[in-house]
C-alpha cells in the first residue's frame, strides 16, 4: 500500500508563551511512498525524522498537511486504527513479559471479528518469531537478550499484526558495528519477504544507502532531496546532500568560475560551459580524483594509507574547507610518497559546483 504525505508540517510551540522560538520540526513535506518499497529517511540528529515517523504512525498530530494510506485519508485516524507496526529506537519491549508474550501482546488486543483463539495467537507469534529467527528464544525476558536479539523481537512484535506500513526509528543505533551490518541485511530480507511498505529512519547515510529503495534526505525539517540512493549520491541537489552522503566524505573547496574555467586558487582544473562567472564551492568525490604525472590539480602530499584493495592519498590544499583532501584509488597505482606534492586528474562526473550564496547545485557542461 502506498503512503502519501501532503504538505506535512509539524510545529512544536515554545515552552513558555512569551518567547517566540517555536520549533518547526517538519516543514511542508510532500512525498508519495510507492507500495512495497523501503524508504530511508536520512538526516542529522534533530532534523525531524522521528517527528515525521510519529506523524505517519499517528502518535503525533500534524500541525497541517495530510497523510493518505492508499486512497484513505488517515490524518485524523487514531494510531491503533491505522494498521501500522512501529519499532522504537530503544525497542520499548515490555521488560516483564517473555519474548512470546511481547510478540503476542498486540494480538491480544484484537476484538470483534479480528479476535483470535489462543492457538491462533501462538501460531502467529511463532510465525513472526521465525521470520526474524528468534523462535528459539520465546521464553526469555528482554533483559536476557542481546541488543540484536531485542531488536528482532521488536520487529517481530511490529510485524505480528501484519501491518500495512512498517515504521522503524533508528532501529540499528544501539547495535555494535558488526551486528548493525548483519541486522540491516536482515531488515532488508524481511521487508522483501513481507512486501510491507516500510519507512526506515536513520542518521547513518551508509545504512540508508545500503538498504533503501528510495532515500529522503532532510535538514532542519526541510526535505533536501528524494531519490534512489545511487542517483542522489551521483547527482546531489545541494552542498548539504553532497556532504552528507558518502564515506569518506566529499572533498569541498572554495573556487571560482571565470571565463568558462573553474579555478581552485590559480589552478584551472576544468573547462565548463553554461556557467556565468561567480564564486563557487567545488565538491569532488574521493573516487573522482586520481594522481597522474600530468594532473591539473596540484596539492601538498601528506601520506598514503593503504587499506588492502584500496589506498587513500591524503593531501592538503589551502582552498579546502576540510583539513585534508582525500583520493581513493586502487592500491596498485603507485604514488611517489617522497614527493612534496601530488598532481590529480579529475573525473568530471564526480565533480560538482555549488553556488557560494545558496549552496545549491550549479549544473554545467564539460567542454
Amino acid at each position: 500500500m502506498k503512503v502519501v504525505l501532503e504538505n506535512l508540517t509539524k510545529i512544536f510551540p515554545s515552552r513558555d508563551k512569551k518567547s517566540q522560538n517555536q520549533v518547526v520540526a517538519v516543514s511542508d513535506f510532500s512525498f508519495e511512498i510507492p507500495d512495497g518499497q523501503l524508504v530511508g529517511l536520512l538526516g542529522p540528529s534533530g532534523c525531524g525524522k522521528s517527528t515525521t515517523l510519529y506523524m505517519i504512525s499517528g502518535l503525533q498530530k500534524p500541525t497541517s498537511g495530510k497523510i493518505y494510506f492508499g486512497d484513505d485519508d488517515v490524518t485524523e485516524l487514531s494510531t491503533e486504527n491505522r494498521g501500522i507496526g512501529l519499532v522504537f529506537q530503544n525497542y520499548a519491549l515490555y521488560p516483564h513479559m517473555t519474548v512470546q508474550q511481547n510478540i503476542m501482546f498486540p494480538l491480544q488486543n484484537l476484538t470483534g471479528k479480528d479476535k483470535l483463539s489462543k492457538q491462533q495467537m501462538l501460531d502467529r507469534a511463532h510465525e513472526a518469531a521465525k521470520l526474524v529467527q528468534i523462535d528459539e528464544l520465546m521464553d526469555r525476558k528482554p533483559s536476557e537478550l542481546s541488543g540484536g536479539q531485542q531488536q528482532r523481537v521488536a520487529i517481530a512484535r511490529a510485524l505480528v499484526k501484519m501491518p500495512r506500513v512498517l515504521l522503524l526509528d533508528e532501529p540499528l543505533s544501539n547495535l555494535d558495528a558488526r551486528l548493525r551490518l548483519q541486522t540491516r541485511e536482515e531488515i532488508r530480507r524481511i521487508q522483501k519477504e513481507t512486501g510491507i511498505t516500510t519507512v526506515f529512519v536513520t542518521h547513518d547515510q551508509e545504512e540508508a544507502m545500503s538498504i533503501s529503495d528510495i532515500i529522503v534526505v532532510m535538514k532542519l525539517g526541510v526535505v533536501q532531496q528524494i531519490g534512489k540512493p545511487q542517483s542522489v549520491y551521483d547527482d546531489p541537489a545541494n552542498l548539504f546532500v553532497a556532504k552528507f552522503l558518502g564515506t569518506p566524505p566529499i572533498n569541498v573547496l572554495e573556487g571560482k568560475v571565470l571565463d568558462g574555467k573553474v579555478y581552485i586558487g590559480d589552478q584551472a582544473v576544468m573547462s565548463v560551459s553554461g556557467v556565468e562567472d561567480m564564486d563557487v564551492y567545488i565538491g569532488i568525490r574521493p573516487e573522482g580524483i586520481e594522481p597522474a604525472p600530468d594532473g591539473v590539480f596540484e596539492c601538498k602530499l601528506n601520506n598514503v594509507e593503504v587499506m588492502g584493495r584500496d589506498a587513500s592519498v591524503v593531501s592538503t590544499h589551502t582552498a579546502a574547507l576540510s583539513p585534508v583532501i582525500r583520493a581513493i584509488i586502487s592500491s596498485d597505482i603507485h604514488v611517489d610518497t617522497a614527493s612534496e606534492t601530488v598532481k590529480y586528474n579529475i573525473k568530471p562526473h564526480k565533480f560538482f559546483l555549488f553556488s557560494k550564496e545558496t549552496e545549491e547545485r550549479i549544473y554545467f557542461e564539460v567542454k
Binding site: 522504537f88 520499548a92 515490555y94 501482546f105
Partner: protein, 312 residues
C-alpha cells in the same frame, strides 16, 4: 583492607553510632528478651529485691488475657482492611494524577498535605467530623451531629452513632478504617507517583500503537512495571498497620474506645503500653515479642507472594 595500625581510627569514627545503637537498640532488645522470659517480671518488684523464675509464664498469661485477643483482633482487622484499600486507592489516585497535565503540582501538594500534618490533630478533626456535638435540652439524645451525619441526613439517611457512647463496634471500626486509609494515602501516592513518572513513556506509545484498551494498559503494563513500588508500599503498610496505636488515640483518646466501652479498640501496641503502665514489664515484653513474631511471619509471607509477581 585498612592498615591494622589504623583500625583504632576506624573504630573511633564508628564509636558514636555504635554506642548509640548499643544503648538504644541492642540493650533494649536484649532486655526485652530477658524480661519476657522472667516469670511475672516487674521493675518495681525487682527493685524491691524480688527474684523471678525463668519460664514462659508471661507468654501464657498474655495469650490468656481476653483483652489481648481483642487487641490482636482489632489490629489484624485494621491491617487486613486498610492495606488493600489504601494501596488500591493510592494506585488509582497516582495513575489519575499522573495522567493529568494542568494543576498536577497543586493537586500533588493537596494530596501530600496529610503527610506533614500531625496524625493526632487529624484524628481530632476526624473525631469532630464523626461526632455527636451537644445534647438536646432536657434530653439525653444527641441533637447536633458532626459533618458526616449532617451529610447523611441531607441525603435522607438516619444519623449513625459513630464513636460516642452507645456506638457499635462496626461503626467504630468503620471510622478507624476510613481514618487510617486517609492517613496512609499520601505516602503511598508519593511513592507510586514517583514510580509512575519513572516508567518510560515509550511503553505507552507502544501500547497505543497496538490499540491496547486503557484497562489492559493499567493491568498488563503499568501495574507490573510499578510492582517494586507496590511491593514496598504493601510491606511497609502491613508493618505500620501492626504498629497501629496513635490513630486510635487521635479519635478515641487514651480510653481506646467509646466512652462506655473503654479499651474496645485497643491494639497490640496499646496492650504493651498498658502493661508497662501497670509495672508488668514481663508481660509487655512477651506481648512485644509476639507482635514481632507476627510482623516477621506476615512480612515473610508477603515476600514470598510478592517475589513471584514483582518484576525488578
Amino acid at each position: 583492607m585498612v592498615d591494622s595500625k589504623k583500625h583504632w581510627k576506624a573504630w573511633l569514627y564508628l564509636s558514636p553510632a555504635i554506642i548509640l545503637l548499643l544503648v538504644f537498640t541492642v540493650w533494649p532488645i536484649f532486655n526485652t528478651l530477658r524480661m519476657a522470659f522472667l516469670n511475672d517480671y516487674g521493675n518495681m518488684a525487682a527493685i524491691g529485691g524480688q527474684t523471678f523464675g525463668f519460664g514462659i509464664q508471661n507468654f501464657i498469661k498474655v495469650i490468656e488475657y481476653k483483652e489481648f485477643l481483642q487487641c490482636l483482633q482489632n489490629t489484624a482487622l485494621l491491617c487486613v482492611a486498610t492495606v488493600p484499600i489504601s494501596t488500591v486507592l493510592a494506585l488509582l489516585i497516582a495513575v489519575a494524577l499522573n495522567s493529568i497535565k494542568p494543576l498536577q503540582k497543586t493537586l500533588q501538594t493537596i494530596f501530600f498535605l496529610p503527610y506533614v500534618t500531625n496524625s493526632i490533630a487529624i484524628g481530632m478533626v476526624f473525631a469532630a467530623m464523626f461526632n455527636i456535638v451537644g445534647l438536646k435540652q432536657g434530653s439525653h439524645m444527641a441533637d447536633t451531629w458532626g459533618i458526616i451525619n449532617n451529610v447523611i441526613q441531607f441525603f435522607g439517611g438516619e444519623p449513625i452513632n459513630w464513636i460516642n457512647a452507645g456506638s457499635s463496634y462496626v461503626a467504630n471500626m468503620a471510622v478507624m478504617i476510613i481514618y487510617i486509609v486517609w492517613n496512609a494515602l499520601p505516602f503511598k501516592i508519593l511513592i507510586l507517583l514517583g514510580g509512575l513518572q519513572s516508567i518510560n513513556k515509550q511503553y505507552y506509545d507502544a501500547a497505543k500503537v497496538d490499540g491496547t484498551p486503557k484497562r489492559r494498559v493499567l493491568t498488563r503494563i503499568t501495574i507490573p512495571l510499578l510492582s517494586p513500588m507496590l511491593a514496598y508500599v504493601i510491606i511497609t503498610g502491613f508493618i505500620g498497620g501492626f504498629k497501629e496505636y496513635s490513630s486510635i488515640i487521635g479519635i478515641f483518646g487514651e480510653k481506646m474506645g467509646p466512652a462506655d466501652d473503654a479499651g474496645r479498640l485497643n491494639t497490640m501496641v496499646g496492650f504493651v503500653y498498658d502493661a508497662l503502665e501497670r509495672d508488668r514489664q514481663g508481660r509487655a515484653s512477651a506481648a512485644a515479642l509476639i507482635l514481632f513474631a507476627i510482623i516477621l511471619i506476615v512480612t515473610l509471607i508477603n515476600n514470598k507472594v510478592i517475589k513471584k509477581r514483582v518484576h525488578y
